[in-house]
Structures are given as C-alpha cells and as structure tokens.
Amino acid sequence: MGASLWSVTGPAVGSAFFASLVEVVEAFTIILAVGTLRGWRPTAFGTIGALGALAAIIALLGPLLDRVPLQALQLAIGALLLLFGLGWLRKAVLRAAGIVPLHDEAAIFMTEVAQLTRGPARNGTAFDWIAALTAFKAVLLEGLEVVFIVIAVGAGRDLVWPASLGALAACLAVLAFGLAIHKPLARVPENTLKFGVGVMLSAFGVFWTGEGLGIPWPGRDLALPVFAGLFLGVALATASILRRPLTELVR
C-alpha cells in the first residue's frame, strides 16, 4: 500500500516541483530585467497583481473541479496532460539532439532589457505601467502553466495540496537563489529538467487517460513508474538517433 501510494504521490509532487522550477525561473528572468531597468515598485505591483489573478483562477476552478465526476476528470485531464507533456518531451528531445537551441536565460534577459530600453521612457515620477504590465504578463503566463500542472498531476488522486506544496517550494527556491545572486539563473539545467518533467507528465497523461477510460492497469499505481521508464527510454533513444553529426552542428 505504501509503495503504491508513493508511486503516485512522489511523482506528482516531484513533477509539480520541477515543472514549477522551470516556469518560475523563466518568469524570474523577466521580472529581474524589468525591475533592474524600470524600478522595483511597478515590478512588484505587476507581480503581486498576477499572483492575485492566479489565486482568483484557482479559487474559481477549485470548487468546479469538485463537481466533476472523478473518471471524467481523469479522462479530460489525462488527455490535456498528453498534449502538454508530449509537447514538452518532443521539444526536450529536439534540444537534447542539438536540433533546437538550448534555452538561454542570460540571452532572454538581454533581449528583455533591449525591448524595455526601446519602449517608451519613464515619465518623471508617474507610475511605470509598462513595467508593471510586463511583470504582470510574465508571472501570469508562466503561472498559468504551473496552475495547470499542479491541477493535472494532483486532481486525479486528490493530491492537489501536496502538488501545490511542491510548486510553492520551487517558487521559494528560485526566489531565494535569485535574491542571493541577483542575476538570471542561467546555470539551471533547464533542458534536463524539462526532459524529466516531460517524461513524468506524459506518463501521468497515459495513466490518467487510461483510468478515465476504465482500463485496469496491471499493478495499479505501480504502472506509473513503468510508463515513466518507457517514455524516458524511448525519448533518450530518439534524441540519440536524431543527434546530428558534430561537424554539422559546428557548421
């Protein structure tokens, strides 16, 4: 029973933590660029506004989810997880194969700074709405993905709270490191994390979809780690086969 319970709870909390880590690092890069260039007051205003909007979305969605029958919820969330997870994994495979360039937080930071520099200049003591809106947008868009992942990995087994704690731990970790170094978190192995999370989300997608369809998986919850192992093996093999020769990469 214990092993069976942890075979779902562990991956749910882990997936929420690592997926949130990826998303929060991306949001942090933009917030850092906006705050450094345009001031921290409007940046904090936009960030808190977006967190409030996300809280409102969760408050609205939470009671609605309770009204959906579990099997229908598992099927709907499972299918959405398949679309989302397979998409992440496909991109991670292409990055691991050297076909798509790796995500570069330092480059994204510089691009964001360049865009904000080109934008309208700050008007004396007037509130900088452009900075606030940029921060709001970054936190809201990345946050929506976190909310979806937390609900998707948690709702099928009443694990939304443990998954939320995983996401919150990721937010606090990024905030703590970010405040300490005050630079984009460029050394986070983003593609490795995305590869791992893509594997887990795809495995959850197959698992929940099957449960929603009424498929009795052999070993019940223990089937989840087996699916994850299969996705990992196939994804690594695909990346290895697609990897271009070194000469072509250099060219």
């Binding site: 959405l80 679309l83 397979l86 994994l89 496909r90 292409l94 196939v234 695909t238």
Partner: protein
C-alpha cells in the same frame, strides 16, 4: 485586448504547439476509447494501444520536426 489575446495564444500554445502531435495524440485517445467500448472484455488492449500509440506519436513528431528543420 492585446493582453487577453496573448493569454489565449499562450494557453492554446500550451496544448497545441505542434498541431500534428496534438491531433495524433487525440486520435490515439479516440482509438483507445473505441476499443474499450467495443472490446469490454479486453480493456488492457486499449491500454496497450494508448501507451504504444503515444510513444509512437512522440518519436514520429520529433522525427518530423528534425527532418523539417534539416531541409530549411
């Protein structure tokens, strides 16, 4: 309005970044659902189709994108 459009685009992109992959995954789910209803005594057959189908979709989608980029 531009913000709402961006949010909708982002949400759509979350699930439909690669149209072929999304369509393929939904077809696999549809086939599995059909198998469950037509072969209720062998529900595991639908499970095998779902799992193997998703793995095949992943490999094919990555291969398609790799080929598309190599011809650019």
């Amino acid at each position: 309005m531009s913000l709402i459009r961006e949010i909708v685009t982002e949400l759509f992109g979350m699930f439909m970044a690669d149209g072929w992959l999304a369509f393929g995954a939904l077809i696999v789910v549809g086939i599995a659902a059909l198998l469950v209803s037509t072969l209720p005594t062998y529900p595991l057959a639908a499970g095998v189709v779902l799992l193997v189908g998703c793995l095949a979709i992943l490999v094919t989608a990555a291969d398609r994108e790799a080929k598309r980029r190599s011809t650019e």
